[in-house]
């Protein structure tokens, strides 16, 4: 090999090195040191003015999920979400980073005022991971970030823990950004997210960190907000939300109350299955299978298993589940909103011709529930 290419190589390598280092410093490359790490984001305002509230890890302290004054809530406003995010960076003095944002809260006032563009912007811009959880808060979402919780005062972390640990529980309908847009684009698509209700737990309880008497709250996620492509539609109550969870998810926890021998008892869900079948152009059959066990330990007495729900109890459970699903279906059909994804079931069997705009109003849902005990 001649000397010339080798010498040229040793000119080019340092040149590229200098070039990359220089450009690396000149540009606003993402680095971890000057970041305001946002762990929870609340979005309020209206379509004309977006209000952001961000729960941020204070950089000098690092962050622990128990809080202890290491987190702060910053607010900003802007005509668009992008402007509000830029303003947030100005407020904090650091560039806001959403790489750790796992929960986004929307105020129902904001959802009602036309939030579709903002949600779509978040999804399209890759601002946060698509595993981020979406929740709605009654009125304004920023109130959520400021409440004190007895267990964990960092609301964002507490909410994430709740949503993740109760993911497969009856009545809970957690929603990720990815799943929201998956549902949104199905035939007759509708999205939903849990509604976070703040319930006052104790008045004037002592918190270990402050030593001061402060009101404490707990979060309730048993209701659900339904969104269509046009925006906020309605709120599902506790029973309807349960129906939605039975009909759309595989569950592995949750209580099923029943009465036996004059006593009020509970069975616990171990597993569920659901299967939709289009039996006619205007009828869908839902086969729901529940496997459960008694909440209290069963035992054998005189050759008879005591504590295991009998046939009557199973019928009660099946009836309650069927009723919850039907309530959910009826309320959604009345609002012309296909939250159970029945349009998809029809489309897969009959093709696009059979799925017309008014398919929901003439649609019947035949819910069949089978309960098994273990």
């Amino acid at each position: 090999m001649s000397k010339r290419p080798a010498s040229r190589k040793w000119i080019i390598i340092p040149l590229l090195f200098v070039l990359f280092v220089a450009f690396g410093n000149l540009s606003s490359g993402i680095n971890l040191l000057d970041r305001a790490i946002v762990v929870g984001l609340a979005i309020d305002g209206s379509a004309d003015e977006i209000e952001l509230s961000a729960q941020i890890v204070l950089p000098q302290n690092g962050g622990v999920s128990s809080g202890g004054g290491r987190f702060a809530v910053y607010e900003s406003k802007g005509a668009t979400l992008r402007e509000a995010i830029e303003a947030l960076s100005t407020t904090t003095g650091l560039r806001a980073s959403f790489a750790h944002t796992d929960v986004i809260m929307f105020g129902t006032d904001f959802l009602r005022s036309g939030s579709g563009d903002v949600l779509e912007y978040i999804f399209k811009s890759e601002l946060v991971r698509d595993t981020a959880l979406l929740v709605a808060a009654p009125g304004e979402a920023k109130r959520l970030l400021k409440i004190k919780l007895p267990v964990n005062e960092v609301v964002s972390y507490h909410l994430i823990e709740m949503l993740q640990s109760n993911r497969d529980e009856a009545g809970q309908n957690p929603m990720t950004l990815q799943r929201y847009f998956f549902n949104y684009f199905t035939v007759g698509g509708a999205g939903y997210m849990p509604l976070v209700n703040v319930v006052k737990e104790t008045e004037g309880s002592l918190t270990p960190d402050s030593g001061k008497a402060e009101d404490a709250y707990r979060l309730d996620l048993s209701k659900t907000v339904v969104m269509t492509r046009e925006g906020y539609l309605m709120r599902l109550d506790r029973e309807e939300s349960k129906g939605l969870s039975y009909a759309t998810k595989r569950l592995n926890s949750g209580a099923l109350p029943y009465e036996e021998d004059g006593e009020r008892k509970e069975a616990v869900i171990l597993d569920t299955r659901f299967d939709y079948r289009a039996v006619a152009e205007d009828e869908v059959q839902l086969d729901l299978t529940l496997i459960c066990r008694p909440a209290e330990k069963s035992h054998s007495q005189g050759g008879r298993q005591v504590g295991v729900p009998g046939e009557d109890a199973k019928a009660q459970i099946a009836g309650a589940v069927q009723s919850a699903v039907e309530q959910c279906f009826n309320v959604c059909r009345d609002e012309q909103c296909d939250v159970l994804g029945l349009g998809e079931v029809l489309y897969r069997k009959y093709g696009a011709d059979f799925v017309r705009n008014d398919y929901l109003s003439r649609l019947k849902l035949d819910v069949r529930v089978s309960v098994f005990t273990k």
Binding site: I12, L16, L19, F20, F23, L26, S27, S28, G29, I30, I37, R95, S97, F98, A99, H100, D102, E120, F123, K124, E126, V128, R129, D130, T131, I160, T176, Q178, R179, F181, F182, N183, Y184, F185, T186, G189, E344, Y347, R348, K349, G351
Partner: protein
């Protein structure tokens, strides 16, 4: 593998052709194309991808025969056919370089930089691809051989650690319609990526060892079609909103809440693939022009500047590039990527048979 004695800048081994073919074909088919296909033919996107990849693989047979014959520049064909083919390849490669460079810069600027400064990414990226293009096809092959291990690591980790949230129903029912054909036609420019390999010369002693190439082609088909299936089953109709599919499906985004989003490993590995792909395109344009005027180094520098300037000033944004390249210009890609390899092969085969008869 020991280097062959008479190695020139275009001499490559079949295993290197296999790796180059993989990167040439896959890199930009898993970035923005899945979104375009989802927008055009919805759940049937995988079928459109399967048709086009099968077509590409069929054309690769001609490209590989030319490479085994010593490459287009040394092929014994009429001067008119050769010069015409080279001009079309140069133009086609440059157009493709502009499109893919815009996509690459857009992706890098969006994921690695807060403010998406195209000019800075361009300034860092263009010299690198120009240098590799100037060094020739066996250097590109070496770069590809190094990068392929990192690519494999990302793919294997993504499969092993995946928390797959997809639903098979999202890609059903299978109802091929005219929209599949429309999308295949509309996105012609994103296909037929093997033409630059016509400049390669497969090392004489290895011309009958086709196994690595066959494995690569099978993997290209399975990977790209599988990727689109997985992408659509995870995002359903939401696929139409996702600009950059590759990073979204990679596992590093979902590993841990405490780690946050880890785009960097995926983006950096993909950038290595993009470097190989873009240097292949620029290298093909260099080789083609060098056939007429010589001075490969100068040509590489000038072409790099031309591509950089077009990307900076003429391509306003990705949407503009998409609109232009899915317009009438797509038929030029059909000419350079499908017609040229087959014509060159036919011309060579005819002359070879005539010589044999004589």
């Amino acid at each position: 593998m020991r280097a062959h004695k008479s190695m020139t800048s275009t001499d490559v081994y079949p295993s290197q052709v296999a790796v180059l073919a993989f990167m040439a074909s896959v890199t930009f088919k898993v970035l923005m194309l899945p979104r375009y296909f989802a927008g055009e033919c919805g759940r049937q996107a995988w079928f459109a991808m399967a048709i086009m990849i099968a077509l590409d693989i069929a054309v690769f047979a001609f490209v590989y025969k030319i490479a085994c014959a010593g490459g287009i520049r040394s092929l014994d064909i009429s001067l008119a056919v050769k010069n015409g083919a080279l001009v079309v390849i140069v133009a086609g490669s440059l157009l493709k370089a502009v499109l893919f460079c815009s996509e690459c810069i857009g992706y890098t600027a969006t994921t690695l930089f807060d403010e998406g400064l195209w000019r800075l990414v361009l300034a860092g990226f263009i010299p690198a691809i120009a240098y590799v293009a100037y060094k020739g096809f066996n250097v590109m092959a070496r770069v590809a051989q190094i990068a392929i291990w990192l690519v494999a690591a990302v793919i294997v980790l993504s499969i092993l650690l995946a928390d797959f949230q997809g639903e098979a129903d999202a890609v059903l029912p299978f109802m091929p319609s005219a929209r599949v054909a429309t999308s295949c036609d509309r996105y012609l420019f994103w296909f037929g990526d093997f033409t630059p390999l016509m400049f390669c010369s497969v090392t004489a002693d290895f011309r009958k060892k086709h196994v690595p190439v066959l494995i690569s082609l099978a993997f290209i088909f399975v990977f790209t079609v599988g990727f689109v299936l997985a992408f659509n089953s995870v995002y359903g109709g939401g696929s139409t909103l996702i600009s950059y599919a590759f990073g979204k499906l990679a596992i590093f985004n979902k590993l841990s809440r405490l780690l946050g989003a880890l785009d960097f490993p995926v983006v950096c590995v993909w950038l290595l693939m993009a470097t190989v792909k873009l240097s292949l395109l620029l290298g093909a344009a260099c080789e083609g022009l060098a056939h007429f005027v010589g001075h490969r180094g100068l040509i590489a520098a000038v072409l790099a500047v031309v591509v950089g300037v077009i990307c900076k000033f003429a391509v306003v944004n990705i949407a503009a590039a998409h609109a232009f390249f899915s317009g009438w210009i797509r038929y030029f890609a059909a000419l350079s990527e499908y017609v040229v390899p087959m014509t060159v092969w036919a011309a060579w085969e005819l002359r070879r048979r005539r010589r044999a008869e004589a």
